[in-house]
């Protein structure tokens, strides 16, 4: 059974203090791993898709990496506006015709000025 586990559940950082969020996954065949950002009261907003181990993608202060068992979302010198819940999801290769995603429970990041 496909499974996604995110850690930590919550993370508090000072502005400028870099850190990483973890997403561990178990799938029979990975078609894609997705990172989303969710602000309170809003829907998830797409950040990155990673397709194969060793792949990396960057956007501003965020960098996502992928191995065969996990993905990391690295946050460099975060700012208060980076505060949000970050969601990880995987798509199994058997779900390629349906697009079905399995989500982790998310990591809630708070960045204090």
């Amino acid at each position: 059974e496909d499974q996604v586990t995110q850690s930590p559940e919550a993370l508090r950082l000072q502005e400028g203090e870099s850190s990483s969020l973890n997403c561990s996954y178990t799938v029979s065949g990975l078609r894609g791993l997705f990172w989303y950002r969710q602000d309170p009261g809003k829907g998830p907003e797409f950040l990155f898709t990673l397709y194969s181990a060793g792949e990396e993608k960057e956007k501003e202060r965020l960098k996502a990496t992928l191995t065969k068992k996990e993905s990391f979302l690295h946050i460099t010198a975060p700012k208060p506006e980076d505060s949000a819940t970050y969601l990880c999801a995987v798509q199994d290769s058997s779900s390629s015709n349906t697009g079905k995603l399995i989500f982790g429970q998310g990591t809630t990041l708070q960045v204090k000025p």
């Binding site: 997705f34 989303y36 998830p44 797409f46 697009g99 995603l101």
Partner: protein, 113 residues
């Protein structure tokens, strides 16, 4: 912004009453999804559609039905609402198989009293 509108945005109803939530998209995306989001459970797939009149169940489909009579509209119906269906409901769309990024609406907060 994938042009997804969910209505209503908030609803309070009583146990045993029928409820219909609407998702409308303007992007002509093939796939549409209904998720629920609850504390401790993350996003869970209720039902999805891979074309007009083509729908299938997700992992938490009991007590829910869906319909898609037009590409742009995907309806979620709670035939007889229960307190366990109190949740935040999100609609998502995906362009197609090759472009497998899901875009989310703003959500509907449903309270069943």
């Amino acid at each position: 912004d994938a042009g997804i509108t969910q209505s209503p945005r908030h609803k309070v109803t009583e146990t045993g009453t029928p409820v219909t939530l609407r998702c409308h998209q303007t992007e002509n995306h093939r796939y549409m999804y209904w998720y629920r989001q609850d504390p401790g459970h993350g996003l869970r797939l209720i039902h999805y559609s891979y074309g007009v009149k083509d729908t299938d169940k997700g992992e938490v489909s009991d007590g829910y039905s869906v319909s898609r009579s037009k590409t742009e509209d995907f309806l979620l119906t709670l035939e007889s609402a229960t307190s366990s269906q109190t949740s935040v409901y999100f609609c998502a769309t995906q362009p197609g198989v090759a472009k497998n990024i899901q875009y989310f609406g703003a959500g509907t907060r449903l309270s069943v009293l």
